[in-house]
């Protein structure tokens, strides 16, 4: 981790209002290449909303986004993807009726030329899909299996594999591990680790302190649309982080009755 490197994305004072609901009330976060930035916080804290402004799904009501130092206005997700931001959304971005390989390459279809016409290169797509899914520990019946017939965790894995495969400079993962089994979770965390080491910036949202601590370099905690501050790895103990994530409220009684296992 080179201390001199500049942030690839700077989110400055982002606000986002939905009608009368203020989902984000001024959040600033810097994302550095080669680092995994964990976004933590309570349900409804605004994490998903925040990363959606980063990936072009929402336009911020106020505030500025700098990408590689230049102000950026993403009109829609396509712009963000073209700029090199790959996102796995909490509510999946998969089409249930389409095959795994069509889903995998959706928006990034490989083409082969047949004369003057560009055709979808199904063979290549199928091959790559099977390979990538195998890498993640999922064995598909075939690349033309419909996504709708996969279990929740399997779908999640397809989405992550896809983002990693195309993930250019920034990879955003919104609670990627929440539906995953132990083995798949380990795979995803290992993938994050690998990707980060390749110099890609990762934004990782989770409710699981342990997962965050396993791969995180920086931790930002959101609470009710505001940031409670960013800490670097080593500056904060797991217990402090856990307290922050719960909004600093009295967890003691519960913890006591359940034996500190949360």
């Amino acid at each position: 981790m080179n201390p001199e490197h500049a942030p690839i994305i700077q989110m400055k004072n982002i606000e986002k209002h939905f009608g009368s609901v203020i989902a984000l009330a001024g959040v600033s976060v810097d994302v550095f290449p080669g680092e995994c930035h964990c976004l933590l916080g309570d349900n409804g804290a605004g994490k998903s909303t925040f990363i959606k402004t980063m990936s072009g799904v929402h336009q911020p009501t106020h505030g500025e986004i700098l990408f590689e130092g230049h102000p950026m206005h993403f009109a829609d997700p396509r712009d963000a993807i073209e700029a090199g931001i790959a996102t796995v959304h909490q509510h999946l971005a998969m089409i249930p009726l389409m095959s795994v390989s069509r889903n995998f390459f959706m928006g990034n279809e490989p083409v082969k030329k047949v004369g003057p016409i560009q055709l979808f290169d199904h063979d290549y797509a199928n091959k790559v899909t099977m390979e990538e899914m195998k890498k993640m520990g999922i064995n598909l019946r075939g690349p033309d299996q419909a996504v709708g017939t996969l279990s929740g965790g399997e779908r999640q894995t397809v989405a992550i594999a896809r983002a990693v495969h195309f993930g250019a400079k920034v990879l955003i993962l919104d609670e990627p591990t929440s539906a995953l089994g132990v083995r798949q979770t380990a795979n995803v965390l290992a993938t994050i680790d690998k990707v980060r080491k390749q110099g890609i910036a990762v934004v990782f949202i989770t409710h699981n302190v342990r997962h965050a601590l396993a791969v995180g370099d920086r931790f930002t905690v959101l609470n009710r649309g505001q940031t409670l501050g960013t800490a670097q790895r080593g500056q904060i103990t797991p217990e402090e982080l856990q307290d922050l994530m719960a909004g600093g409220q009295e967890m003691v009684e519960l913890e006591g009755s359940l034996g500190g296992t949360v």
Partner: protein, 374 residues
Amino acid sequence: MSESAQNTAVTDERIKEISPLRKALIRPELGGMVGTVAVFTFFLLFAFDSGMFNAQGMMNWSVVSAQFMIIAVGACLLMIAGEFDLSVGSMIGFSGMMIAIFSVTLAWPVWMAIIVTFAMALAIGALNGWIVIRTGLPSFIVTLAFLFILRGFTIFLPQVIERKTIIGGVKDAAEGDWLAPIFGGKILQGFFQWMGDAGIIAVFERGTRQGQPVVDGVPMLIVWAIVLIIFGHVLLTKTKFGNWIFASGGDAEAARNSGVPVNRVKILMFMFTAFCATIFAVCQVMEFGSAGADRGLLKEFEAIIAVVIGGALLTGGYGSVLGAALGALIFGVVQQGLFFAGVESSLFRVFLGVILLGAVILNTYIRRIITGER
């Protein structure tokens, strides 16, 4: 892990054996295929000697089916993209009327009338799509509005301009035009003449055309139908854009998040539907030489019916152009077959409804048997 991965990639004990035949059958157009076989079997048994399967009879239901196919291809792609268009019928009326007004009333050259009409139709299609995209309203409502609006203009314009609701004389105007035969002409005339001379198909025995073969060529309408089906099929299954069509219809939000230009896809599909409707209209006007305010009534339903019989999901994201074409074929054959079979004609609608229902249920049922879903 890698060991087990390779292992299970080869066999997975949780999956029963599926025969390759069965696998090949699991496709949207399956129901359409079975339906086609069923319909032909039925009419071969019950209407064989009614003239339905001689050259003339075959041309008869082929032309009707080709008509349905032309609009079904557009409706199919649009439906897979998650929208539908109730203004197809009105668009047919409107486009036909525009060509007649341009070429007869305004006396423009026919090729110019055709090109300008296509441009207008595409613009209206795009407007339809744009309103759907911008307002987020269901396409049912938006295109229903256009159903009324376009039909209204189709009735109003000729009346204001020519004081009639049927404008004729397009045939005379099209004489010698270079573009018109592409829509109204016939091909393979030599071949049919030869077949007639060789006695393979019947020749006229009386009347003005004695000695000519009863079928004297393949109308361009059929050629257009085939061209559109091939185009639609390749577009949908073999190209990048086809993947976008499926994605837009399957889940527009997810597709958008994955970088698919959903709005562009949907608007283009509305334009394509309008394009198909206009092809239909131009072929019709060129064949009949006149445009009427009542042309194309209820065609939108017929297109949707054909597409659904062909196995597409009304909710989008699933379907096939080949299926839609088979649906159109079934629909055309049944419709004409009932007349050949001499069914009481006021019962015609009852049969149509029953067959529609039967075909769609059969479709679903077969799909379930074969895929094993419940």
